[in-house]
């Protein structure tokens, strides 16, 4: 562990530096997003026929494909992110405080990507407002898709509120050191364009509100933790599939917990990657410590275990004495590389994580990164397989065109690259505007007190500095 003392300067560093690497990453991400936007425009112009999709049944294809698989993937990352951050705030897991804001921001970015996918996936996105909102009072009673839109919106608002509230503390204190942007246009000096943003974010701020905000954030966190299994990735998103009896691979109560575990594994992986990127870029070894990575890895291992355990449940019930349709759906899992390979990847990560708890010397940040990448790849492929396999093995599988053929078109594949680019851009921009590590976290690490934390928790120094795993 580093001996440096975390300081305000550390968390302000992203805003005070401008490197070639930053520009390069920005350009690459912008190109990725741009390439997909061009593809999407082409899709809007030509119709959805530019995808590899077709009608299931006599149509010989699948109705939903990579767009929906990636949609669930992003929602999973987003929902897992907010759960992680809420756990930090609610349970006082202060060890992870330095990455809590990153997780929140990942939630906003992930939800944006997911929301974007909803639009990309639709035949007539231009009717989103008139057709969906216009009949909302009727359709919200029945349609799982409307529930989806509802919870995604709700969680966007909740997370933005949450982030907005915690940002006030930091911005108010660091205001003088935050960047300004007053360009000179045609010899005319414009005022600071960023000042209004900060002013709005800290509107009416007084130190007296710190305590109140602290409690508010705690309650919002409680709401998120309670609602996670009910409405987030443990509820509404899996219900999109789990309530349909005509797809044996989808139907049933296990999809709630299964989706939740997948969401958490992918979100933790996302946070590992993000944390590592920021730590490396801004020399934050003493803020996002090795200990945080070890801790995150342990949690990742725990959720990988749950992930595989629930998959095992489905394999067992689908093969012991299944109905005809279930038998086909399960048989596919045993043989299809899109299922087998992701399972092996997650199993590999699990084995590694358990091994490095027994033998801590096996830990390295590189391996932690590899674990994160493996899990993110595995969850994306598994989620896409999950969507496809529904259409491949429906209960009514009489059609010659079933299982249907599908290979994502270039535009669909570009959407993955494009949305990742979009999320990276989101972080690149946001990190230039506000601290991505909370001031609270720095104060905790330094052992400062008296900034309004009134709930009891064990000594900050102890909990934050005692490594979860003794190296």
């Amino acid at each position: 562990m580093s001996t440096k003392t975390p300081s305000e300067d550390d968390i302000l560093r992203p805003m005070h530096t401008f490197t070639k690497k930053y520009v390069l990453l920005f350009v690459i991400s912008a190109l990725a997003l741009g390439a997909f936007l061009v593809g999407w425009l082409y899709q809007l112009q030509q119709g959805m026929a530019v995808t590899g999709l077709s009608d299931w049944g006599s149509g010989g294809g699948v109705t939903w494909g990579l767009y929906i698989g990636a949609f669930i993937w992003w929602v999973g990352i987003a929902h897992g992110g907010i759960i992680l951050s809420a756990a930090v705030r609610l349970l006082g897991m202060d060890r992870y405080m330095p990455v809590a804001r990153l997780a929140e921001m990942l939630t906003l970015a992930g939800l944006s990507a997911a929301g974007f996918y909803i639009l990309v996936h639709m035949g007539r996105p231009d009717r989103m407002v008139t057709s969906v909102l216009g009949h909302y009072h009727i359709t919200v009673n029945n349609s799982p898709l409307v529930w989806d839109v509802t919870v995604i919106t709700a969680y966007f608002v909740l997370t933005a509120t949450y982030l907005g509230l915690t940002l006030r503390y930091d911005i108010a204190r660091l205001r003088d050191d935050l960047p300004s942007f007053s360009p000179n246009v045609g010899g005319k000096q414009l005022p600071d364009l960023l000042a209004p943003v900060y002013n709005v974010l800290t509107l009416g701020y007084t130190k007296a509100e710190d305590k109140v905000i602290d409690r508010m954030v705690w309650w919002v966190a409680l709401a998120i933790i309670i609602m996670a299994p009910l409405l987030l990735h443990g509820g509404v998103i899996p219900w999109l599939f789990a309530v349909l009896p005509n797809y044996p691979g989808w139907f049933g109560g296990i999809q709630g917990p299964q989706f939740l575990t997948i969401a958490l594994t992918s979100a933790i992986s996302g946070v590992i990657l993000l944390s590592y990127a920021f730590r490396r870029a801004y020399d934050w070894d003493h803020i996002i410590t090795d200990d945080i990575f070890r801790g995150l890895l342990l949690w990742l291992g725990f959720f990988c275990l749950l992930f595989l355990w629930l998959q095992l449940q489905q394999l067992a019930t689908g093969s012991f004495h299944p109905t005809t349709d279930h038998a086909d759906a399960t048989a596919s899992k045993f043989s299809h590389p899109m299922y087998v390979v992701p399972m092996l990847m997650v199993l590999g990560v699990l084995v590694y994580i358990f091994a490095q708890t027994i033998r801590p010397s096996l830990f390295s940040k590189g391996r932690a990164i590899a674990a994160g990448l493996l899990v993110l790849t595995a969850t994306l492929v598994e989620k896409t397989y999950f969507v496809l396999s529904g259409f491949w093995y429906p209960s009514f599988s009489i059609y010659d065109g079933s299982p249907g053929e599908y290979f994502p078109s270039v535009i669909e594949l570009l959407s993955i690259v494009g949305t990742i680019g979009m999320v990276v851009l989101f972080f690149l921009v946001l990190s230039k505007l506000v601290p991505v590590v909370e001031l609270h976290a720095v104060e905790h690490l330094r052992g400062d007190h008296g900034h309004g934390h009134d709930h009891d928790h064990e000594s900050v120094d102890e909990s934050a500095e005692q490594p979860e795993v003794e190296a």
Binding site: V50, L53, D55, S143, Y399, D400
Partner: protein
């Protein structure tokens, strides 16, 4: 409600007093109003008949208002026929609150208001002591007389794809958009009788899962006739309906449709020229765009031809569909599933009769031809059969057997009734010639009645023998089923024939889709396509020809 409460009304004395005050505010007789309201309550409870109620107050109402706008006897009887009647109407009067109740009062005639007062509170109150009133609150108040649906005789289908072609032409569908789809299948688990063929239009489910999941209400059930339709102006193309439908009947419009709306409209006007119809073959009688192929980016499926059902293509098309009209072996019976005398219900009720009726219609000789043939012949059975060129004994036996097993033979407005009437005309010609078709000689001669013993009286035709004759002639389907009944969709298509089992798998049929051409409104003749993916692959960006 306290025990001292003498109020007739379930909401109690206070409410009753309020009613009385309201009536006092009007120029009309409050006492009469209260008395009528009390009796109206008795009507809803079934203690007083509606007719008696009407009778009791007619004079008073005439005296008070000079007019009695309450249902007349004729209207009452009409209402009775449509189930429920006046009492149901009273019970169903419901409102959200005080204000609307008052507004409603104003809108109702004062005489009707008297009556309505009682019913209003009843529907609002839902007191346990008023079980029949409370019960009336449950369920749907809207009356639906028609539910279009089909009976499809799978044994009669010859797999010619005429229905698929007719549907594609009627709706100007893109290649591979097979709203109507016919497939042959192999099924190891099934009994090896009859043919394994399935005719699959949309099932127009009463509990349609596609409608339930729709995030926009674009997929909806039409109130008046239960058709499950897609409003092309509302659909956002999320395709969740296609996902939720267990039958796979939906076809998304992945790209710009081949035939333009201009061509469709022009063709519709051309087809119905001179008949005074304004139909564009896209808009139904509610003014919603639900018919013909979908525009780009929205979902489509079999509509059961709303343009026909709405009478927009002429009265003669009501109660038919393009596929039914086109089916050479008459395997599709379209009609009102709520009517036990409709084509589909009658056919499903006795498929052997339906099949025989349809078959025999080809050979039933016209009355004129019979008259010509029989001129100068004797009037006994043998001579008649000998003289008639187009009528042999077997035909006559079947015709007579059909009449014997049929109730209300030749009555009604279903399509099969025309067939029955053709038989009746032939029978009339035979009777006119002097052949008594109900006589012992004829019935026994045709083996449709048992010859009585010497001391017995002839007891007429035998229905069971007649039925056996029909079954032997036309055959009986293996089963009568609805597709995927366990999905709880309540489909409105009844199938007659083999039910595909869970392991059934499609095989090539007698006619390939690619060998059948559809003539579209834009003047092109385009071959049908079985697998739409192959058509769509042409537009896929970067299609490598591989599949996951």
């Amino acid at each position: 409600m306290s025990t001292e409460d003498e109020s007739f009304h379930p909401l109690g004395q206070e409410w009753e007093n309020e009613l009385e005050t309201m009536l006092d505010d009007t120029e009309y007789d409050s006492d009469l109003g209260m008395q009528m309201a009390e009796d109206a309550m008795r009507v809803t409870k079934g203690e007083l008949s509606e007719a008696d109620f009407h009778e009791k107050y007619h004079d008073d109402v005439m005296e008070e208002f000079g007019v009695d706008d309450r249902p007349t006897e004729e209207a009452y009887e009409e209402a009775q026929k449509n189930a429920g009647g006046f009492a149901e109407m009273l019970k169903s009067v419901d409102s959200d609150g005080e204000e609307s109740r008052r507004d409603m009062m104003k809108k109702m005639g004062a005489g009707a208001a008297f009556v309505g007062l009682g019913a209003f509170g009843a529907a609002e109150g839902g007191s346990e002591s008023q079980p029949n009133v409370a019960a009336a609150q449950e369920g749907d108040n809207t009356e639906q007389d028609v539910q279009w649906g089909m009976a499809i005789d799978l044994d009669r289908c010859d797999g010619c794809l005429s229905c698929v072609k007719a549907c594609a032409e009627e709706n100007n569908l893109d290649r591979g958009v097979n709203w109507m789809y016919v497939l042959d299948y192999e099924d190891d688990s099934a009994v090896d009788i009859g043919q394994n063929r399935l005719v699959r239009p949309c099932q127009h489910c009463t509990d349609a899962p596609c409608e339930k999941v729709c995030p926009t209400t674009a997929r909806h059930t039409r109130d008046k006739d239960g058709l499950v339709l897609t409003d092309y102006d509302v659909c956002i193309g999320c395709r969740y309906c296609q996902v939720a439908c267990p039958y796979g009947v939906n076809y998304f419009q992945w790209d710009e449709p081949d035939v333009s709306t201009e061509d469709i409209e022009a063709h519709a006007h051309e087809e119905m020229e001179g008949e005074g119809h304004e139909a564009d073959h896209m808009t139904d009688d509610r003014g919603r765009w639900v018919d013909s192929r979908a525009p780009r980016g929205v979902m489509s499926k079999c509509t059961m031809c709303p343009t026909f059902q709405d009478g927009l293509a002429g009265e003669e098309k009501v109660g038919t569909t393009a596929c039914e009209d086109a089916c050479p072996p008459d395997a599709i019976q379209f009609g009102n599933m709520f009517d036990e005398n409709s084509d589909p219900q009658r056919y499903a009720d006795n498929p052997a009769r339906g099949r025989a009726l349809s078959d025999i219609d080809m050979t039933v000789p016209s009355a004129a031809a019979l008259e010509d043939d029989l001129d100068g012949a004797d009037d006994d059975l043998e001579s008649v059969l000998e003289a008639s060129q187009d009528l042999d004994e077997e035909d006559l036996r079947i015709m007579k057997a059909i009449e014997i097993v049929s109730e209300d033979f030749g009555e009604g407005d279903a399509e099969y009734v025309e067939y029955e009437q053709n038989i009746i005309e032939a029978f009339d010609a035979l009777e006119a010639h002097g052949l008594d078709l109900d006589s012992e000689e004829v019935l026994v001669g045709l083996d449709l009645a048992d010859e009585p013993d010497e001391d017995e009286e002839f007891d007429g035709p035998s229905e069971s023998t007649a039925q056996t004759v029909l079954v032997n002639e036309a055959g009986e389907p293996e089963s009568n089923f609805q597709l995927l009944q366990d999905m709880g969709t309540n489909p409105n298509i009844i199938y007659l024939g083999n039910e595909p089992g869970p392991q059934a798998k499609q095989v090539d049929g007698p006619v390939a889709y690619e060998d059948v051409e559809a003539d579209l409104a834009d003047g092109r003749s385009v071959p049908l396509a079985d697998n739409r993916k192959e058509v769509l692959d042409e537009m896929t960006v970067g299609d490598a020809g591989v599949s996951l």
